[in-house]
């Protein structure tokens, strides 16, 4: 009988744990998990805001929404836009974040001020910074265009010519915004990792006569790969489904329509809930596929780097 009290203590602990965690579970289940399941159901139903009360759990299920969404003009181009926007935005923000972390690693006068300043784009509300960029890039009174010989409609022009090459002006601007706004995120993570690195390795490399670039390549980078890989995944996931940045800057016009903005338009201007849900689901599925590909090819390489 000596085991019985031990088991009840353990049971007590289990019960206490469950009751302490239950508020957290209840709210995530009620506001995240159940709505998600419902979104999946809606994607297979002919649901509009007008008839939503009539589409019950056992309503009529159909694949029509998916067919409609995929064959609708602009779907594939928005998917390509999303991918270009995400890959370029993620890559740029990580590279700039890495450069910033390396440059601001050592002490110098005014470092606190520069560090704080570098973080503002990430901390400031998206609506304020998007509006700020819109104002700065405005062809009539924006500060950027007064410095240029000819004003450029950065946010409303789909294609422009640069040194004789056609470039997607608005899309590039939106990508630049993404990189500007989120490099502090990468900067924070990389800096935290840099500061946790043991100094001896670097010092040993100096003694061995390694040049700065050699030290970066053979000593610092190998220890940063894990952080960079984690950042790539996080930023890819967040950017791929991002809505507010593009919506606020261009409203999805001028060749910058990304899938999440399309979802929003289906939902609000067409009141077509089923199609919106189907589109969002397609987005989520592509996200999972890209992530699986990424993890398959890059996570393996990362293990060797360690």
């Amino acid at each position: 009988m000596s085991r019985t009290p031990a088991r009840t203590l353990r049971q007590q602990e289990g019960r206490a744990g469950l009751s302490l965690i239950s508020p957290t579970l209840v709210i995530t289940l009620a506001v995240v998990v159940v709505p998600l399941l419902w979104a999946i159901m809606l994607a297979f139903q002919d649901a509009r805001l007008i008839n939503i009360r009539r589409t019950g759990v056992f309503g009529h299920y159909t694949l029509e929404n998916f067919g409609y969404v995929v064959s609708e003009p602009g779907f594939w181009s928005s998917l390509v836009n999303t991918l270009v926007y995400t890959v370029a935005g993620t890559g740029l923000s990580i590279v700039i974040g890495l450069v910033a972390a390396l440059a601001l690693r050592d002490r110098f006068r005014g470092r606190t001020l520069v560090r704080a300043s570098v973080l503002i784009p990430y901390v400031a509300p998206v609506v304020a910074v998007a509006f700020l960029w819109e104002t700065m890039l405005n062809p009539q009174y924006g500060i950027v265009n007064t410095w240029l010989r000819e004003p450029i409609a950065f946010l409303t022009q789909a294609k422009g010519e640069f040194l004789g090459v056609q470039v997607p002006v608005a899309l590039l601007t939106v990508i630049a915004f993404e990189a500007w706004r989120y490099f502090p995120f990468a900067f924070l993570f990389i800096l935290a990792r840099l500061q946790a690195l043991p100094g001896e390795l670097d010092e040993a490399a100096v003694v061995d006569g390694a040049t700065p670039t050699q030290r970066f390549r053979y000593v610092i980078m190998p220890q940063l790969w894990r952080t960079v890989a984690l950042l790539s995944v996080l930023r890819f996931v967040f950017t791929f489904t991002k809505f507010d940045d593009v919506y606020l800057l261009t409203g999805g016009g001028a060749g910058t329509e990304v899938v999440s903005v399309r979802v929003y338009n289906f939902l609000t201007s067409r009141d077509d809930i089923g199609a919106a849900a189907a589109q969002a689901l397609v987005l989520a599925v592509f996200l999972v596929v890209f992530l699986a590909i990424y993890l398959r090819f890059f996570a393996g390489g990362e293990r060797e780097q360690r």
Binding site: V31, W38, L42, R115, S117, V123, P125, T135, T146, L283
Partner: protein
């Protein structure tokens, strides 16, 4: 000249250049925002290239706060942010404690659930919640918005707090238990006082999310002007031609300032809290 000396010399030149470029790229836009907000619109149109206003005016702020209703929007944002922080902490403290200390059925699965919520696209979630809130008549109410923010931040705050709670020595808690503390009073009297920095950091994180958020505010509140948050108010008014850009820039300052103040007051805490998991993860 050897490669090493060349590279060192180059870096000695490059590093200040990079630092200056980063500083300008991040600080200049906000400086521009502030200077535009105190200018007269006529002056801006006549001379858009000048950086420093000839005449300062604060009429833009008076206009945006009173006539455009930003005082109301600020109040709404404050209610939403403060309520989100309070309830999120109330919910996630016991949750984080349970995950950090107690063995219970499903503890590992809880982890996975939270990661999934953290990475989950908001736009997918927006659809069913939009429909649900429409059906329940919750659209236009701040309470619905607060509920969404709580659900979106609780997983992350549980994670952040858990990391910290694990650093509190078990022996201190055991001593409290021997002195007759129940589990809840141990959390209240021992764990929380020791975890003040973590509580601050998570609270600020939630505050920032709730103050800055746009998509759900747009979906839920757009039809009802008196419950707009500052973000929504600015985005809605930015589209209209009647309101001068300088006035809206004043609105941008009003929207940005609280968060920047909060952030600078607590930068160290917050960045440490946010990246604490990165090294392990």
């Amino acid at each position: 000249m050897s490669r090493d000396r060349f590279e060192r010399g180059l870096l000695r030149v490059l590093r200040p250049v990079v630092i200056l470029a980063l500083f300008l790229a991040t600080a200049f836009p906000f400086l521009y925002m502030v200077t535009l907000s105190v200018r007269d619109i006529q002056e801006l149109i006549l001379d858009p290239g000048s950086l420093w206003p000839e005449r300062f005016t604060l009429d833009t702020y008076v206009d945006v706060l009173t006539r455009q209703g930003f005082l109301t929007f600020m109040r709404n944002s404050a209610i939403v942010a403060v309520a989100s922080v309070a309830v999120t902490l109330l919910i996630s403290i016991p949750g984080a404690y349970a995950v950090a200390r107690l063995r219970f059925f499903g503890r590992r699965q809880v982890h996975f659930l939270f990661l999934a919520v953290y990475l989950f696209p908001a736009i997918v979630l927006a659809i069913p919640l939009f429909v649900l809130f429409t059906m329940l008549g919750l659209r236009g109410s701040l309470a619905g918005l607060i509920l969404v923010y709580i659900a979106q931040t609780v997983p992350v705050t549980v994670y952040m707090l858990r990391n910290y709670f694990e650093t509190v020595p078990r022996s201190v808690e055991e001593a409290a238990a021997i002195d007759g503390c129940t589990r809840l009073s141990t959390i209240w009297r021992v764990v929380l006082p020791l975890s003040k920095p973590a509580l601050m950091a998570t609270g600020l994180y939630v505050f920032m999310i709730a103050w800055n958020e746009f998509l759900f505010a747009l979906l839920f509140l757009v039809d009802k002007r008196e419950s707009w948050t500052v973000s929504l108010g600015l985005s809605q008014l930015a589209g209209s031609i009647e309101i001068p850009t300088t006035v809206l820039m004043a609105g941008s300052v009003v929207l940005t300032l609280p968060i920047v103040i909060v952030f600078f007051a607590s930068e160290r805490l917050l960045t440490e809290g946010l990246t604490a998991g990165a090294e392990k993860g």
